[in-house]
């Protein structure tokens, strides 16, 4: 049963290996371990965001405000850093997590307390958070020369030969893996997605759990805010505009069902990697970057078609597993 469950992730991993193989026929250095590490590092932020989105989608909700949250929180930490360069980076990261948490909690409260569908709530906060970034910054940018060297350098520093950004991604992946497979909260998240009514009878507080997943996605959005700004060294209102759909795309390609209850940490990570490899590979094999959008669109449609075939069977298997647990 467990082997069956891993089925889709294995197929996706195989697709990625084939993709890398195809690219390396045109550009052999692409499959170089060093280069693949670079691709992983480049995709770290998307992977983190996809994991945050995953827990929301698993509960049959959606968080469209993640990219706006990222933009707002990124601006907050960038302005903090520009005004007070002495604030140590770990404290800034905690600030980013806290600001993101507040924004996520607003979403979560509206969904939990007022029972407004999450797509409506986050559609609203999507525009509000980005607008708030403009109000906060007065439309100004925070450029690289205003950021402290530590602010920019922290994620680039190598630890055991791997950049800190990649370590953060690995840490987040590990935490989510523990959350989803080893905790009661993780099981509740799956249970709500599979059958919200049955979850209530099983003693799960559906509303509260949804509130918690929005807090998680908010914190992830905040963390990604700092990482994004310090990576691309510019904070503006336009940061990550429209990126919310890339995050959802990564989840969809990773086999996370928009109907809730189906999906895994491995899937989200591989889905993000798939998109990351495409965007990294296009320039080196001399395809215009303008092709990227159409290719990822086709990949999404293909992934949905393939996943829909498996879902009818897969859904039952997860249900049975949940019953047995």
């Amino acid at each position: 049963m467990k082997a069956l469950l891993k089925y889709r992730e294995i197929w996706l991993a195989a697709a990625i290996v084939v993709l890398i193989g195809l690219i390396s026929t045109r550009f052999p250095a692409f499959a170089d371990p060093g280069n693949l590490g670079q691709v992983f590092n480049d995709t770290s932020i998307l992977m983190i965001l996809a994991l945050g989105q995953m827990v929301v989608i698993l509960t049959r909700s959606i968080d469209l405000s993640m990219a706006s949250n990222l933009c707002f929180t990124g601006m907050v930490v960038a302005m903090l850093n520009a005004a007070h360069p002495a604030i140590p980076i770990p404290l800034l990261i905690v600030t980013a997590l806290a600001v993101g948490l507040v924004l996520g909690a607003i979403n979560g409260l509206l969904v939990w307390r007022l029972n407004i569908p999450s797509i409506v709530v986050t559609l609203g906060t999507l525009t509000i958070y980005r607008g708030a970034t403009f109000v906060l910054s007065g439309g100004a940018w925070v450029n690289a020369d205003k950021m402290s060297p530590d602010f920019i350098g922290f994620q680039r520093a190598a630890f055991l030969g791997i950049p800190v950004l990649s370590w953060i991604a690995i840490l987040v992946i590990a935490l989510f893996f523990i959350l989803m497979t080893r905790t009661a909260l993780g099981r509740s998240i799956y249970a709500i997605g599979v059958n919200p009514t049955a979850s209530v009878y099983a003693g799960i507080d559906v509303g509260r759990t949804k509130f918690i997943v929005f807090c998680i996605s908010g914190m992830i959005g905040g963390l990604a805010g700092y990482l994004w700004i310090s990576r691309y060294v510019i904070a503006s209102v336009e940061v990550a505009n429209g990126y919310e759909l890339n995050i959802i795309a990564a989840c969809v390609i990773g086999g996370i069902s928009i109907a809730g209850g189906i999906g895994s940490v491995g899937g989200a990570v591989l889905g993000a990697l798939f998109l990351g490899i495409i965007s990294n590979a296009l320039p080196v094999i001399n395809i215009s970057p303008f092709w990227q959008m159409a290719i990822s669109g086709s990949a999404i449609i293909l992934a949905v078609v393939l996943n829909a075939r498996g879902e009818r069977r897969q859904g039952r298997i997860i249900l049975r597993k949940a019953e047995a647990a």
């Binding site: 906060t125 509000i128 439309g139 759909l245 795309a249 303008f290 092709w291 959008m293 669109g297």
Partner: protein
């Protein structure tokens, strides 16, 4: 127990008491619209002017046209996030046709046919393959706009014929623009379609319970397919209007429109979960969004700050009735 129950009289339509009309969603929207209109007239001396008010309509007509079809689609329980991308693709195709020397009637036809084709593609994926529309249209959104980017890159198409400018810039009578007339005609057509035909009843039935509708002989798949085609068609028409108004095509045209259209529909009282809503509500929501953006524009409020008001409006208008009901329930 031998009493045979008298045959029940089932009215065609329930007579609504006046109180329910007063507390209806549409009434709330009218109040909001009047309030915003009044605030605008006080805030800016330039607001109450025939030409200003005429300019105002351009803020919502194009999105409003799509919102009508989107309303039907959302009532039936589906959604289309690819409408803005359809606009981009249709506009790009029109631009290509101009380069090839096509004239105005051909351009309009191309815009509409491309829109319809894109809608049909979405519809086929959703109804034939049974895929969730939100994911399919996120995919086609990237695909359609991606094709526009492949064709255009960082270039732009210009040189549309002069007669083509009428659709987005022309006036039918005095300050009444062609776009506004089209918007009002579409409002009547969609109102009739949704509220006065059996097709409209079926749309509601599907949204409330697709399985029951299927067993009642409603061709769920076919109706949903038609609704996707209609949404594509309206996006094609909107594309003609926008391209004509701007006089040029870039692949980034109409970026983010899909969320504004959906905001309009939801603000208009259409349940995002499907099954309920009205065209009148959508018309009012379109006016409100136009009023807010135009009024704030007159006060030199930047567009990004306006979006805060739109977002707040969306959440507050949805939350108010819920809070209101809860407060009354407690006391």
């Amino acid at each position: 127990m031998s009493d045979v129950p008298a045959p029940r009289h089932i009215p065609d339509r329930l007579d609504k008491p006046l109180s329910s009309a007063i507390f209806s969603w549409e009434a709330l929207l009218v109040v909001v619209a009047v309030a915003i209109f009044a605030i605008n007239s006080f805030a800016s001396p330039y607001f109450l002017d025939a030409y200003s008010l005429s300019d105002l309509t351009f803020n919502f007509t194009e999105k409003g046209l799509i919102a009508f079809a989107m309303a039907l689609l959302i009532i039936s329980g589906e959604i289309d996030l690819s409408v803005a991308a359809i606009i981009a693709l249709a506009s790009t195709m029109m631009g290509m046709a101009v380069q090839a020397g096509a004239d105005t009637p051909v351009l309009v036809l191309i815009g509409i046919v491309v829109g319809l084709g894109c809608g049909a593609f979405n519809g086929l994926l959703v109804t034939r393959l049974g895929l969730p529309s939100i994911v399919v249209t996120i995919g086609t959104m990237s695909l359609f706009r991606g094709i526009a980017f492949i064709i255009l890159g960082d270039q732009a198409y210009k040189g549309y014929p002069e007669s083509f400018a009428f659709f987005g810039q022309g006036y039918v009578w005095w300050v009444v623009s062609f776009e506004l007339v089209l918007f009002l005609i579409a409002a009547v057509v969609y109102w009739f379609l949704l509220h006065r035909t059996s097709f409209g009843r079926r749309v509601f039935a599907i949204g409330n319970n697709p399985v029951a509708a299927q067993f009642s002989g409603v061709r769920v798949g076919r109706i949903k397919f038609i609704l996707f085609c209609l949404t594509g068609l309206m996006a094609g028409i909107a594309s003609v209007l926008i391209t004509s108004r701007l006089g040029s095509t870039r692949p980034s045209i109409a970026q983010g429109y899909e969320l504004e259209v959906i905001t309009m529909v939801v603000l208009g009282g259409v349940s995002i979960l499907g099954g309920s809503g009205s065209i009148l509500g959508v018309v009012l929501a379109a006016f409100i969004m136009g009023l807010v953006t135009f009024g704030l524009g007159l006060l030199n409020v930047p567009g990004i700050v306006m979006s805060i008001f739109i977002g707040l409006l969306l959440i507050v208008v949805i939350a108010l009735p819920i809070v209101w009901r809860r407060l009354r329930g407690v006391s």
